[in-house]
Symmetry: none
Subunit: 228 residues, 2 copies
């Protein structure tokens, strides 16, 4: 479970407590407000989990070793071309997923940014009353983890044949470089191009093996383009 920019220590504590309740172990924080993560260390019922929480500077680093990355949102899919599932269906997908799954929650105030979402293979929404879509962070975490934990027979995560997020990201960077070299993109490549390219690669759902092949192809093409 990944909390992106959490502000309120009570919410970090509440998220950790829900994780303990429903048997989830790895808490990751992306750029938490320092005071928030320090105060959360004292939250009851989930001390071990909080002590073991790892902090990352970016979403990309936090999910690098994950094979499925899903983001939570109270809204629609905005302009991103990402599938959006209601929690019920998302929970089934998460339970069935092979490999490590990251579930991203945005900050209390703003949720996940478009950039955060560009790391997500798909989004999940907790069905709520349209006029009151905005949920408390700790409660959203609890509802999500409860739903995912139901009838989770296979707690043991199988090794995945899918490429992890770090591997896909290397492809994104190589591809951006090749597209820049060839004039498809005008350098400097702007943020929206990076997002679009990342989404494109994610939608391919490459296996670990295919990802290696694609990286090899891109490196060779780049080598040739550089030699010009």
């Amino acid at each position: 479970m990944v909390l992106v920019h959490p502000r309120n220590p009570l919410n970090i504590g509440a998220a950790a407590r829900a994780m303990a309740n429903f048997g989830f172990e790895q808490l990751r924080l992306v750029e938490p407000y320092r005071v928030a993560s320090d105060e959360a260390r004292s939250a009851v019922h989930a001390e071990e989990l909080l002590l073991a929480a790892r902090e990352f500077a970016t979403v990309g680093e936090a999910v690098a070793d994950c094979h499925v990355v899903c983001g939570t949102t109270a809204l629609g899919p905005r302009e991103l071309n990402v599938p959006l599932y209601d929690l019920e269906e998302a929970a089934i997908r998460i339970r069935k997923a092979r490999g490590r799954v990251a579930i991203l929650f945005g900050s209390e105030k703003f949720g996940l940014s478009n950039d955060d979402m560009s790391h997500c293979h798909w989004l999940v929404r907790i069905p709520a009353i349209p006029a009151h879509r905005s949920m408390n962070l700790g409660q959203a975490v609890a509802v999500t983890l409860y739903s995912v934990s139901r009838r989770r027979e296979h707690a043991v995560v199988e090794a995945s044949s899918k490429a992890d997020a770090g591997s896909n990201e290397r492809i994104v960077q190589l591809l951006l470089e090749a597209l820049g070299e060839s004039g498809y993109l005008k350098p400097p490549s702007d943020a929206s191009q990076t997002l679009k390219t990342r989404r494109l690669i994610q939608r391919m759902g490459l296996s670990a093996k295919d990802a290696e092949v694609v990286q090899g192809m891109l490196r060779q093409v780049l080598w040739k383009l550089h030699k010009m």
Copy 2:
């Protein structure tokens, strides 16, 4: 929803917010700590609900007009001879119930007393890890109300339409040409390389739109490679 002896105003506010999220209207409080219910009045996102909350001196009075009364517990049924259901089944029972249903939550510290439970037709338990059964009150309310409110809805956004075989094959041919130009493949490209590349592209399962984008990228890279 009935909160019995709630102590923490944040929890009353959180409970009210979850009720707003999932479309529940009547909040009843049994002997709340005075300061708790006063402070909760300022909770965000659920002001109306909190203002309309009614207070009662006893559980009996709070549930007097209800047809089904169910109590929440983190434990087993103690000595009470009351059926105990996991939330999943309890939610179905609540949705099917005729008449007004009361869902009771006990205080943060002690849960429902035996006396409180004696008003219940049955009890509901949220399945949690045995070593960490104790849930935060606001989170327990959110999980319960989510479960009761949910309807089986499925994917909101369908994956976009897939590229046809002709479109994929154009990508294969462009890619083979680029790989030949860059020296990744030794020309003349043999049949087995073509098959491998075609399978690779097929496994990507590109959408029609993504296929167009990839073709455009490859054409540009090829144009640059040819210009050398």
